[in-house]
């Protein structure tokens, strides 16, 4: 099943509001899945639509692909920004604080681990995995990320391998 972008038919004038209404919820969900902060996810989703609105070149056939790619990039950027911030904050702590039970539980959660691994990976493979997890077909991945359709399978396989290596490096074999 493909939940990814569908081609826009005809040459009718671009209806921004319709695109917004149709895609906003899914875009916000993609981001929320990565950043795990609903309010921030909605904020970032609006930022993406603002960027989209200011970029008429993106209003073409592959508008939805553009939106998903932007959403995934934005979410990964936010994830990395948060990780950086956490690192810097830990540098300025004189004593390591005692983690709260909630923090211990969250750290052990699988999805927290997945987020950490994605945040540590190179952006390209991480984007590929996230878009794939949103149900993008190989063809859609190729057009969204400007890849050669013939090499999507290989790239995806490498991305999965990179994910596994990073996961094992951090948390040991599963």
């Amino acid at each position: 099943m493909s939940t990814g972008p569908e081609p826009r038919a005809g040459k009718a004038p671009f209806d921004f509001e319709q695109t917004f209404r149709a895609q906003y919820e899914r875009i916000a969900r993609v981001i929320a899945g990565v950043v795990h902060d609903s309010a921030r996810a909605e904020e970032l989703a609006v930022e993406i639509f603002l960027k989209f609105w200011r970029n008429p070149k993106a209003h073409g056939e592959n508008a939805n692909g553009w939106l998903y790619r932007a959403a995934v990039r934005k979410a990964l950027d936010e994830l990395r920004r948060r990780n950086r911030r956490a690192r810097y904050e830990s540098l300025f702590r004189f004593r390591s604080p005692v983690p709260t039970p909630e923090e211990i539980r969250a750290a052990a959660e699988e999805r927290t681990r997945v987020r950490q691994v994605l945040g540590a990976m190179d952006p390209g493979p991480a984007e590929l995995l996230l878009l794939r997890s949103q149900g993008f077909s190989y063809q859609e991945l190729a057009s969204t990320l400007d890849l050669n359709p013939a090499s999507v399978g290989t790239l995806l396989s490498r991305a999965q391998e990179a994910f596994r290596k990073e996961y094992v490096k951090r948390y040991g074999p599963q």
Binding site: F20, A28, Q160, P173, Q174
Partner: protein
């Protein structure tokens, strides 16, 4: 789990990725998002930056309307110029026990005040301004010192740092029974003394024309008195 096979790896990664999810409770509100979008679109970053810059400009110009921040800003500019321009800045430490840099400035009657003409006298050189509160406290003391010690070869010289010069200084002096000479710095005197970072600033000069001490800010009258007495005895 065995990660050796590609298919297993794919399945495992897919399983991991499927755990990423905002949760069932997350319900994005499209209407609210559209309203937020409309607000942000009406107020783009360029406009926000422009507004922020305008606010800073208003704040800075408002601050510069007051003399004290203006002097501070001027000192900052001087310090930057000397730092980046390679111009060696004079510091007071370099001047201590050295001959006081000479200067010439006109007093309120237009008569020249030349520091070198005061050789053989103990000089209290006071940098001040009409807007400076602590300076107002000191001025009556200096008037008193001038009155009390002028026969013992002592003189007070006031150097005003008011930006608008005699326009402010003359009426200020006229309102008081001023007995010592005052000049207005044209920007050349204070830098010779290492720059005057805060007011009042007073420099004591001995009979040989050497700098003996510097007092930044308000100090007690007794401090001046004892210092003047010591210098007059030399």
């Amino acid at each position: 789990m065995d990660h050796n096979s590609d298919s297993n790896n794919t399945g495992w990664v897919d399983e991991c990725m499927s755990k990423l999810g905002p949760g069932e409770e997350f319900q994005p509100d499209v209407t609210r998002a559209l309203a937020r979008f409309a607000r942000r679109r009406a107020f783009p970053p360029a406009r926000r930056w422009a507004l922020g810059a305008a606010a800073v400009a208003v704040l800075v110009s408002g601050m510069l309307a007051f003399p004290a921040p203006r002097v501070l800003a001027s000192r900052c500019v001087d310090a930057c110029e000397s730092f980046f321009g390679g111009k060696p800045a004079v510091s007071f430490d370099m001047l201590k026990a050295q001959p006081a840099p000479d200067f010439a400035v006109n007093d309120s009657t237009g008569a020249p005040i030349r520091l070198s003409d005061y050789r053989g006298k103990v000089v209290l050189l006071n940098f001040w301004a009409t807007w400076c509160g602590p300076c107002k406290t000191e001025i009556p003391w200096f008037i008193e010192f001038e009155q009390a010690y002028q026969d013992q070869r002592f003189a007070v010289i006031g150097i005003s740092l008011d930006d608008d010069g005699w326009k402010s200084v003359r009426p200020y002096m006229d309102a008081r029974k001023w007995n010592y000479r005052v000049g207005v710095d044209d920007g050349s005197i204070a830098p010779k003394y290492g720059g005057v970072d805060s007011l009042p600033e007073t420099i004591m000069i001995d009979r040989e024309g050497r700098i003996v001490s510097r007092h930044v800010g308000l100090v007690s009258k007794q401090t001046y008195e004892s210092e003047i007495a010591a210098l007059l005895k030399r």
